[in-house]
Symmetry: none
Subunit: 379 residues, 2 copies
DNA sequence: GCGGCGCATGAATCCAACG
DNA sequence: GCGTTGGATTCATGCGCCG
């Protein structure tokens, strides 16, 4: 059992709290083993647990970008587990403590990737939690798949759960709808990854390998807690949860083993800078996605593979193929833009306006089809 | 053990198949219990399994015994733990059969929602599958949350897995990149839910409650199978997998218990038109092109021994030798790739794009010469 | 001061064929 | 099976430098 040490003096004011809460180490970091620290907290004492546990990535060798540069991977000891069984045992232990520590109407948030989230989700259900939603964090700027071997891993998954089917959890429906231009907030959220000024650095290096964006925590706390509520974070890291909680007038309890992370978190939360303006902007008005790939129209049957296309003067002809590429009469193939530029021997070409299809003898640009698609699918 | 009955005559032609495959019930539906039907298939005989298993376990609906048979009455004696345990046992049984039936380089796709996907994903990992991606189907037109009690459940999750860490699965990277306007395909896909003309109806009612959109299967089959590959679907429903497989020139095996669904599927698949071969062709990776040795270009006079080469920034220089190796100024020698990596002190280097020759003052990569050679010698 | 270009980097289970 | 070698492979963003 690790030694637990309370780090940092109380930050911010201490408002009137329920008698039970007066024993809580509010707005402080418990430095030490996460399970031991959770065990030190009383039953049914916190309103939310937010947890960002190790992902158990199981990475292979080193990875290099196509330009030869080295990818800085997560190789920290805290992410290594010998077997799935070991990871499951750890997961179930800390989750069981979270269940005990949560008030009956409190709720749990956990974030993970495909490496661990299925095991976490199974444990969540087995321990009696009731899953309310799974939420997808769509990264607007994920790291590409450099070797072209899989789909770009462009999202992470969060689980939101109450303590049971009948529990009366907090959900600020109106706040979410307002935040989303008067449309119900969906289960897929788009945010950039944490970088720029927000990313904590020391000597030019990132302090924590997996710092989460404040915008993500902002939306979670705004949606599922009330001012004054207590949020516990058993994998506190550099304190994103604490920083956002403080700014939103919530109380927090952090648990973290690494002294380096604790120190960075304390400093950060005391500074408690307002949200970066760009983060606020991305948060409040989800980017419209007017971009449509030509392949989308093929996949959805707006154009059929084998269909002939031509330019406005019927000088060049090509047929659509199953993957959304075009095949010209002379055997050249490529995307609508690339083939158009190839045939005309020009550096660029807007395939949407260059290529046409025939409808009752008349030629229409394929861009017309894109407009039809947008009308049919946009709210 | 359920009775298995083969439904529907073979659809389409039966091409020359490997002797093992000749025993498969290709392009047919096995009507009966899913686990019994899977057991009737030989080991390592299919290229892909696509599965859309039931997941209405908590909605007062179906329950399954570990052998897959149906439990009619949900009694109160079945508490949550028993319910999850029964679902897990069922899941592991059919997944284990899928593992057995898949070829070593085949892959598995499963779709689900937060009700079941965590249990499915855990089982997938425990059975030895190696998860390659989880994919998010973002619904462009999801059903709203009418009571305003949660986030709009606007997505479903798919898992793509190989039979092990070392397995060489099929992934048509170029096709996916082409389909997505020359940007790597990401792990979040947007499609509308299945409706309109595509949605199968009888007497004004939908035939199947959870019919999947063909666009979803189209992308999956295009990405992870080749023409002629065999796709098995143990929860065939109304045959979306079969219809798309036929259109894309793939073979299919369906398994379905409900005669109503089987009948609808047969009718639907017979109406689906296969694409002709030219439309089916997709963008190929350069890997598929015949390899050209640098020495071949030297032998054929495209480059002359003694000719100087340099990188794009003229930082390094080397001369061509008669055997197709390069000699640097500092006396190091090796293949175009090896010398490039040596000079830059990097683990790898693509010599074709690293080395350039000078033509009228401008630098051109030697890869351009390879392309010229390929065009001159390919039929 | 501003715009353009080059460079760095992010939770990553990241090669294939041949001898 | 394993070691060697050929050669395929990246998107969005922020920041700093330079003209």
């Amino acid at each position: 059992m690790g030694v637990i040490q309370t780090v940092g003096r109380p930050i911010g004011t201490r408002p009137v709290a329920a008698h039970r809460e007066s024993d809580l180490p509010l707005d402080q970091i418990l430095m030490g083993d996460c399970i031991a620290a959770l065990r030190s907290l009383p039953d049914k004492s916190v309103d939310m647990v937010f947890a960002d546990p190790p992902y158990n990535l199981q990475l292979g060798g080193e990875l290099f970008r196509p330009d030869g540069s080295h990818v800085d991977a997560v190789t920290d000891a805290w992410d290594k587990f010998d077997t799935f069984a070991a990871y499951d045992a750890f997961t179930r232990t800390w989750l069981a403590e979270c269940y005990r520590v949560l008030k009956d109407n409190g709720s749990l948030w956990v974030i993970g990737s495909y490496h661990n989230i299925f095991r976490v989700g199974t444990a969540v259900q087995d321990l009696g939690f009731w899953i309310l939603n799974d939420i997808i964090w769509r990264k607007s700027n994920p790291m590409p798949n450099f070797k072209g071997t899989r789909f770009t891993n462009a999202h992470e998954t969060l689980i939101w759960a109450s303590k049971g089917e009948k529990a009366k959890y907090t959900f600020n429906y109106r706040s979410m709808k307002t935040l989303n231009d008067e449309i119900q907030m969906r289960s897929d959220w788009e945010f950039p990854i944490c970088g720029g000024q927000e990313r904590l650095k020391k000597d030019g290096h990132k302090v924590h390998p997996t710092q989460k964006p404040e915008a993500l925590l902002y939306r979670i706390l705004l949606a599922c807690t009330r001012p004054g509520d207590v949020i516990a974070d058993p994998f506190f890291g550099t304190g994103t949860t604490g920083a956002v909680a403080r700014r939103l007038g919530r109380r927090w309890i952090g648990i973290e083993r690494e002294p380096t992370y604790c120190a960075a978190a304390i400093e950060r939360i005391e500074a408690a800078l307002p949200l970066d303006e760009s983060a606020l902007a991305t948060m409040q008005s989800p980017k419209a996605q007017p971009k449509v790939a030509f392949g989308t129209l093929v996949e959805n049957g707006y154009l059929l593979p084998g269909m002939p296309l031509m330019d406005a003067k019927r000088k060049w002809r090509a047929t659509v193929r199953a993957d959304g590429s075009l095949l010209s009469e002379c055997g050249q193939a490529g995307s609508i833009h690339r083939l158009g530029s190839l045939l005309q021997n020009r550096p660029t070409c807007n395939g949407w306006t260059f290529w046409h299809y025939e409808l009752e003898g008349a030629l229409k640009p394929i861009d017309a089809m894109r407009q039809t698609w947008l009308l049919a699918t946009q709210p």
